[in-house]
């Protein structure tokens, strides 16, 4: 496969007992671009995410993370934390999973655990307060501050994460994922529960992440305004299979997609579209 891809999912199938949540799904995400995974509730989007990020082991299929100048990583063979650690795939959750009893800054420090662990000489250098550890800790705080400023939470750095308003928690979760310095950022419904203004700010943040960090983003989203505005590529799922793929405009006009969202069959959807026009 060519170098411009970051992730390729081939014939991914995930069964839970008799239920087929994802059935023979194949798609690819381009490097440095924003790929959206959309579909009605229960289409299997989060299951795909959990397979990519290692929380589920796929029943069959291959998930490859392409590295520049290195061999591919087979994500379906790695354990959960190793995907984040070795393959540099970070994720957020549909229901926010911050560390509510830790401060905003601490949340961002925990995200840099693996780098700091190395710097602290597996704790021993840190325990004696070695200068190299102090320097590493300072760099980690600096990185956290950079992200705090980008998500406009610098003034609340020392507040408990659980005390933040909902929209801030969403942004903090993204910043926390970015503090792991990922190659691929997977966002599970980042705009859920946000108002229009917050959604717009989120779109801006994601676009700036793509532009400044060059991070590839894979995103599940129901908020079509966000999807249409920022996505470079859209994959549409329904009942565990891919029903359409392409640019946002292309997908929006696809009768199959509209049928899936309306819960109607294709003919009805076409008639709805025509009557609408």
């Amino acid at each position: 496969m060519s170098d411009h891809l970051i992730l390729s999912v081939d014939h991914l199938t995930m069964r839970f007992g008799g239920i087929v949540a994802v059935n023979d799904l194949s798609f690819a995400a381009a490097r440095g671009q924003i790929t959206a995974l959309i579909g009605p509730n229960g289409a299997g989007k989060t299951t795909v995410f959990n397979c990519i990020t290692g929380f589920y082991k796929p029943t069959s299929g291959a998930i490859r993370l392409k590295q520049q100048g290195a061999s591919d990583i087979a994500l379906e063979q790695l354990n959960d934390f190793r995907i984040a650690k070795l393959a540099k795939v970070a994720r957020t959750f549909q229901n926010i999973r911050l560390f509510p009893g830790m401060t905003v800054l601490e949340n961002l420090m925990v995200a840099q655990h693996n780098a700091l662990m190395r710097a602290s000489g597996l704790t021993f250098l840190g325990l004696i307060g070695a200068p190299s550890w102090r320097a590493a800790e300072k760099r980690a705080i600096d990185l956290a501050v950079v992200w705090l400023k980008r998500i406009n939470l610098f003034d609340r750095a020392d507040d408990a994460a659980g005390n933040l308003p909902y929209g801030d928690q969403r942004r903090l979760e993204i910043a926390r994922a970015m503090c792991t310095e990922p190659a691929l950022l997977c966002l599970d419904e980042p705009a859920a529960g946000l108002n229009a203004r917050e959604s717009a700010a989120l779109s801006e943040l994601l676009l700036s992440i793509r532009a400044d960090q060059g991070t590839s983003i894979l995103l599940i989203e129901h908020d079509m305004s966000v999807v249409m505005e920022i996505s470079d590529h859209v994959v549409v799922m329904d009942y565990g299979v891919k029903i359409a793929e392409g640019s946002p405009q292309h997908v929006r006009d696809d009768p199959k997609v509209i049928a899936a969202y309306l819960g109607a069959d294709e003919k009805e959807a076409i008639s709805v579209m025509e009557s609408g026009e």
Binding site: F93, G101, L105, E106, V110, H113, L127, D158, A177
Partner: protein, 441 residues
């Protein structure tokens, strides 16, 4: 319960009285059922082994009446005056003074601890009690790493205490190694056992984790009890060597410390020496724990307590994180065990029952999970307080139990329930206990 303002619509006084009476009757009925057998009937073994009993219905009636009256009083106060709690019972100036002085509490306690042997030099009883309290402070701080920071409920902590004690006893009696050589070995062995316990329980959470750790504590005790050839079984191990000061024994011999210094020998020297050993060991535990909290491993422990799934998504190896928590906690338990063995000079499995685990866990929970100062205060109250109530003989347990119940009602997250952040940009603000998770195994 204490902070809810009573500005809701007040019902009429008659319905109030009816409610209060109803509640009082229910309380009295519960008390009647509870105490009818506990107080109403007293049984004893007669001279020939038969059961004799007599009734104490007047005592029972007094208790039930007290519950009835007390219920009316408490409920009336709550309805017509204001809710009862530390916020209302303790006047505001006292509260603010306490809050002010709490900053100096830790240094004051430390200075006091350092001065105890000077102040109470001639009171052997106080010195022994101090050593006991400090042993439990150290155990509490050790368990705090596992329960308070990592949020892993460990009911078998005494196992590591036992491993440490027996490691020292066996190494010292069999190989003639000194206390200072054995101490790190005992800690290391206990840490190994911590990892061994950690492996099977990695996948367990909450209640299941607690049960397996409980079983582990019992297994260790039963092995010690039954492995006669190694551990001496129920007879225990005696004549465990006492610690020396850089090889100088604290005895009445010619090469003892007193003779070397040219002062008169006193057995108190050894007690004071032991006191300072356990004090420095406890302070080392505290220092290491405070340092670890500010290192990535400590933050990972706390993050694990907050949300394990989020930890995994951030690339944190939850397996090694849990194992290091178990190993660190176990190591401190092992140190404390080695000290216990050298202090007692004799150990047997009886010292390592579940009761000890429960006591240490109670200290951690009462102190406030994760709070170093809270654990120290709780150990002081639990162990010292228990001794203080010695005059109450049979009511001692009752008083202690009631104190614990009241504390848990008023301060459900322990004496010091809030969490101090490990890193800050401008100002470290305490995090309310409402936000901090307890961990779920």
């Amino acid at each position: 319960m204490t902070t809810i303002p009573s500005d809701h619509v007040k019902p009429s006084p008659t319905s109030d009285i009816a409610f209060i009476l109803k509640k009082a009757f229910i309380s009295a009925a519960v008390a009647l059922v509870l105490f009818s057998l506990m107080i109403g009937v007293r049984t004893e073994a007669g001279p020939t082994g038969q059961l004799i009993y007599w009734t104490r219905f007047d005592d029972l009636a007094a208790i039930v009446a007290a519950v009835f009256g007390g219920s009316i009083l408490v409920e009336a106060l709550r309805r017509w005056v204001r809710p009862i709690g530390p916020g209302t019972l303790i006047p505001a100036p006292v509260q603010s003074a306490v809050a002010q002085s709490s900053r100096f509490l830790a240094p004051a306690l430390l200075v006091f601890a350092l001065l105890v042997p000077v102040l109470f030099y001639n009171q052997r009883y106080i010195l022994d009690l101090g050593i006991l309290v400090l042993t439990y402070v150290m155990l509490g701080w050790g368990l705090n790493v596992v329960v308070g920071l990592a949020g892993l409920l460990d009911l078998g902590y005494v196992a590591f205490y036992a491993v440490g004690a027996y490691s020292y006893a066996l190494l010292a009696t069999s190989f003639d190694l000194s206390f200072w050589v054995c101490l790190p070995l005992a800690g290391l062995l206990a840490a190994c056992w911590g990892v061994m316990l950690g492996f099977p329980v990695l996948r367990l959470r909450g209640d299941y984790l607690a049960i397996v750790t409980l079983a582990f504590g019992e297994i260790i005790r039963l092995v010690i009890l039954n492995w006669q050839s190694l551990t001496g079984g129920p007879n225990g191990i005696s004549s465990i060597p006492r610690p020396t000061l850089f090889g100088i024994p604290l005895t009445n011999d010619d090469d003892g410390l007193a003779a070397l210094l040219g002062i008169e020998y006193s057995p108190t020297h050894r007690i004071v020496f032991l006191f300072y050993i356990i004090l420095s060991m406890a302070l080392l535990t505290n220092w290491v724990t405070i340092r670890l909290r500010r290192l990535p491993i400590g933050r990972a422990w706390e993050a694990l307590r907050e949300d394990e799934i989020a930890c995994r998504a951030l690339g944190i190896n939850t397996t090694t994180t849990k194992l290091t928590a178990f190993a660190t906690g176990a190591m401190f338990g092992g140190f404390a065990g080695a000290f216990f063995a050298t202090r007692q000079g004799f150990i047997s499995p009886e010292s390592f029952t579940f009761q000890e685990s429960a006591l240490v866990l109670a200290i951690v929970v009462l102190g406030g999970m994760g709070s170093q100062l809270g654990v120290a205060i709780a150990a002081l109250c639990m162990i010292g307080g228990f001794e203080l109530f010695r005059g109450l003989d049979q009511y001692r347990m009752l008083v202690l139990g009631m104190a614990m119940v009241l504390l848990m009602i008023w301060r459900p997250r322990g004496i010091i329930g809030h969490r101090a952040p490990t890193v800050y940009l401008k100002k470290a603000e305490a995090i309310s206990s409402d936000l901090v998770k307890e961990g779920h195994g």
